[in-house]
């Protein structure tokens, strides 16, 4: 039999109470913070996963912001394209109406209206988004178009000041995307040109200037012929860009949905690693508290025992 001494009992009691208290403190901490892992040493493996998951989640949240940015750009670009389409349609109407007109002063009026439309189109093309010009490619601090007029207010030329590259940004790890066309692209490759594109033959500003000049000159046949068909071509080009824009917006929505799902599932994964199982923690806490009370009770009992031997011998 092991010899039991006075201090071995109290030492054991203190040791047990210490252990139970330490355990209780850990559980209480878990219960109050709701976290199973707080410090790396709590669970190094889980800590690693949590940090990785959080970094990933933070990156995806950033991609969501990037997507929103692109969506806004696309929406703004789309409304500029709609105005352009309406301008083309108005110019076509003028060309059609002017067909039967022989009165030069009427034709001059039409020409003035076309000059006006050119100005409007240039304005639409000079749309800005967050301080940057949407359609001048990466030269986006420069307005894409300047309209040159003669003294009588007729447009002589419209010059493109942008370039043919568009900035793309990341929408998912490794996937970059651009939603913008440029104003003019005569290189035969790269992003589409909204008003001028050698691949489709679109050259809106020059076609409008021709219409204006033909109206002034009364070239009825050209107005009704080449000018009208050129405008149709320009309109097709813009329609194509509007369609591309729509497709891109759909893709953005899809990317946004994917990102949202990703964030949700990442957060769930993180939560499964980091959050404490409250039900089990509370149960353990109750058990620990009971153990603590028992240990304290034992201390009191031990004291009684010590007193009784002394009383007995008294």
């Amino acid at each position: 039999m092991m010899r039991v001494t006075t201090n071995s009992i109290s030492d054991t009691l203190i040791y047990q109470i210490d252990r139970v208290s330490a355990n209780e403190q850990k559980l209480e901490n878990e219960a109050t913070t709701g976290l199973a892992v707080q410090n790396p040493s709590d669970n190094p493996g889980a800590m690693r996963s949590i940090l990785d998951l959080e970094a990933e989640s933070s990156a995806v949240t950033q991609y969501q912001a990037n997507i929103t940015q692109l969506q806004q750009q696309a929406t703004t670009a789309s409304s500029a394209m709609q105005s352009l389409q309406s301008i083309i349609s108005q110019a076509s109407t003028i060309a059609t109406e002017a067909d039967g007109t022989t009165n030069q002063s009427d034709l001059n009026n039409y020409a003035t209206q076309v000059s006006q439309l050119i100005q409007e189109a240039a304005q639409a093309m000079n749309t800005q988004f967050e301080g940057n010009y949407l359609f001048s490619g990466t030269l986006n601090s420069t307005p894409p178009y300047v309209v040159n007029q003669n003294s009588s207010g007729q447009v002589t030329s419209v010059a493109y000041q942008g370039n043919t590259s568009v900035p793309s940004i990341e929408v998912a790890a490794g996937t970059t995307l651009s939603v913008l066309p440029v104003g003019a692209n005569t290189t035969g490759s790269g992003p589409g040109g909204l008003v001028t594109d050698s691949r489709t033959g679109a050259d809106l500003f020059n076609h409008l200037i021709s219409l204006q000049n033909d109206l002034l000159a009364g070239n009825a046949s050209t107005i009704n012929g080449a000018d009208l068909s050129n405008l149709q071509n320009d309109s097709d080009n813009v329609t194509q860009q509007i369609a591309t824009n729509g497709a891109l917006q759909q893709r953005m929505t899809a990317e946004a949905n994917i990102a949202q799902t990703q964030v949700a599932s990442l957060s769930q994964l993180t939560s499964s690693q980091a959050d404490s199982d409250l039900a089990s923690v509370m149960t353990q806490l109750t058990q620990t508290q009971t153990a603590y009370q028992a240990a304290v009770q034992a201390t009191v009992g031990f004291q009684d025992l010590q007193m009784s031997i002394l009383n007995f011998l008294d």
């Binding site: 959080e54 030269l139 900035p167 980091a274 959050d275």
Partner: protein
């Protein structure tokens, strides 16, 4: 003829003396019940020498022959060695807890509710790369440039801070080592002094000086907390001590003392010297070894990992940044200056004029974001110098590595706690004072004393009868 009445008186007197001695030993035990260093003592009793008489050998009563200390030397030396181990892990645990808090990487809120519940370098790193994404979406914006500088500076200064705190931790461990060495030298000289006292008293009194031996045991255990050593005993009761194979105490003399030396680059180690020869020591247990191993182990690893991460980040970002052009066509500027975690900083030229940040791939085209985008995409790039991990993953791994070391140290401490508790129970069982036992002994001695007194009284009365017979 048998022994006389006077001899009987002597028997009773000796018996009372012996019981009194027993009561004194019991009293001493009771007094020391709460002295943790005390080993209980028992009175050795034997019959006194028998005398040959006509009727055979006749007893002369009892005598106290000595006060014996109840100790187990084997248990004591086991306690010493477990002390060394426990103290080694406690020191490691403490140092790594400091390192963990220096790193400041904590999960602070339930992650289900927020995407960035972590703090520290992890979130700064994410913030920096996310801001590069924002920047790539609007590379000509001065305000985005300003924000980018802010995020990059936060990241850099967090690296600096952790690096500086880990440096402070290292020098703190060196200081602790120095203090431990001083204390160990003091203990060694105390033990040599006690060796002398114990040996002298043993010769003078021809009995073991129990209390001095308790005191020496305590010094040995204190020394074991600092460093692992081996003990051998001499015939005169002295204990010789050697550390790492070098004899430190021989009999009454301290033959070598400990000192620290710089093994290069501020890496303090321990050596033993006697004024002529100096021997570097390889320590295996105790807080000294704990300090050295924590400093050169986990803390150094953490520091190296952070330095590698910072230097790779500097190189990667600068390499891309250098290829770009600033808003005014400037080029070839560094983004980060410095070479590791201790001195990483955002190039002050850029801080003073964010338009110098080189985001564009084409000179003069301010809306071009190719370089900014390339910098942002570094976030997902696997780096061969970081074990083919991304910057973020490499950092997360560093955190987990430290966490693993601390967690192991804590487990060792907890296991060692249990071992020590068991050993202390065993020691208490062998050497501890039991009130119940002592109270029992007290009663026994008291009763025996009373009986001897009665006996003496009886003899006294008999003598008086004899004397009155003669006088009548």
């Amino acid at each position: 003829m048998s022994l006389g009445l006077f001899q009987a008186l002597t028997i009773s007197a000796r018996a009372m003396d012996t019981q009194q001695a027993g009561i004194a030993v019991t009293g001493n035990n009771l007094a020391n019940v709460n002295n943790p260093n005390y080993s209980r003592q028992v009175l050795d009793i034997s019959t006194s020498i028998s005398v040959p008489t006509d009727i055979g050998m006749e007893g002369t009563g009892v005598q106290a022959t000595g006060v014996q200390q109840i100790v187990s030397q084997a248990l004591n030396s086991q306690i010493q060695s477990e002390n060394s181990t426990a103290s080694y892990w406690q020191t490691q645990q403490q140092a790594l807890e400091f390192a963990q808090s220096d790193l400041g990487q904590q999960i602070t809120s339930a992650s289900s509710s927020s995407s960035d519940s972590s703090q520290g370098i992890a979130s700064s790193l994410s913030d920096f790369f996310n801001e590069l994404q924002n920047f790539s979406a609007d590379p000509s914006s001065l305000s985005e440039r300003q924000v980018l500088i802010g995020k990059a500076s936060t990241l850099a200064s967090q690296f600096n801070q952790v690096s500086q705190q880990l440096g402070a931790l290292t020098s703190q461990l060196n200081d602790q080592l120095q203090t431990d060495v001083t204390n160990a030298n003091q203990l060694l000289s105390d033990i040599a002094g006690l060796n002398q006292q114990i040996s002298t008293e043993q010769i003078d009194t021809n009995s073991a000086p129990n209390d001095l031996m308790d005191m020496r045991e305590q010094k040995l255990e204190d020394l074991a907390n600092l460093v692992n050593f081996s003990v051998s005993s001499e015939a005169n009761g002295s204990l010789d001590i050697s550390i790492g194979g070098v004899q430190m105490v021989s009999g009454f003399n301290v033959t070598n003392t400990l000192s620290t030396y710089d093994a290069g680059g501020g890496q303090m180690l321990v050596e033993a010297g006697n004024g002529q020869t100096v021997t570097p020591l390889t320590l295996t247990g105790g807080s000294m070894a704990g300090e050295i191993d924590a400093r050169d182990g986990s803390v150094a690893t953490l520091n190296n990992n952070l330095n590698t991460l910072a230097s790779q980040l500097i190189t990667a970002v600068n390499t891309v940044h250098e290829t770009g052009y600033g808003l005014n066509g400037t080029s070839k500027a560094l983004f980060f200056t410095g070479s590791d975690a201790s001195d990483i900083a955002v190039n002050t030229a850029l801080v003073n004029d964010p338009s110098l940040i080189q985001a564009s791939g084409t000179k003069g085209v301010t809306g071009d974001n190719t370089v900014a985008l390339e910098m942002a995409q570094l976030a997902n790039q696997l780096n061969p110098n970081l074990d083919n991990q991304t910057f973020g993953q490499s950092y997360d791994n560093t955190v987990a590595t430290l966490g693993q070391s601390l967690s192991s140290a804590s487990n060792e401490v907890s296991d060692q706690d249990t071992v020590q508790q068991m050993l202390s129970q065993q020691r208490s069982s062998i050497s501890g004072v039991s009130l119940v036992e002592e109270m029992g002994n007290l009663s026994a001695y008291q009763t025996a004393y009373e009986a001897s007194a009665h006996f003496m009284n009886a003899i006294d009365q008999m003598l008086q009868i004899l004397v009155s017979l003669q006088s009548s």
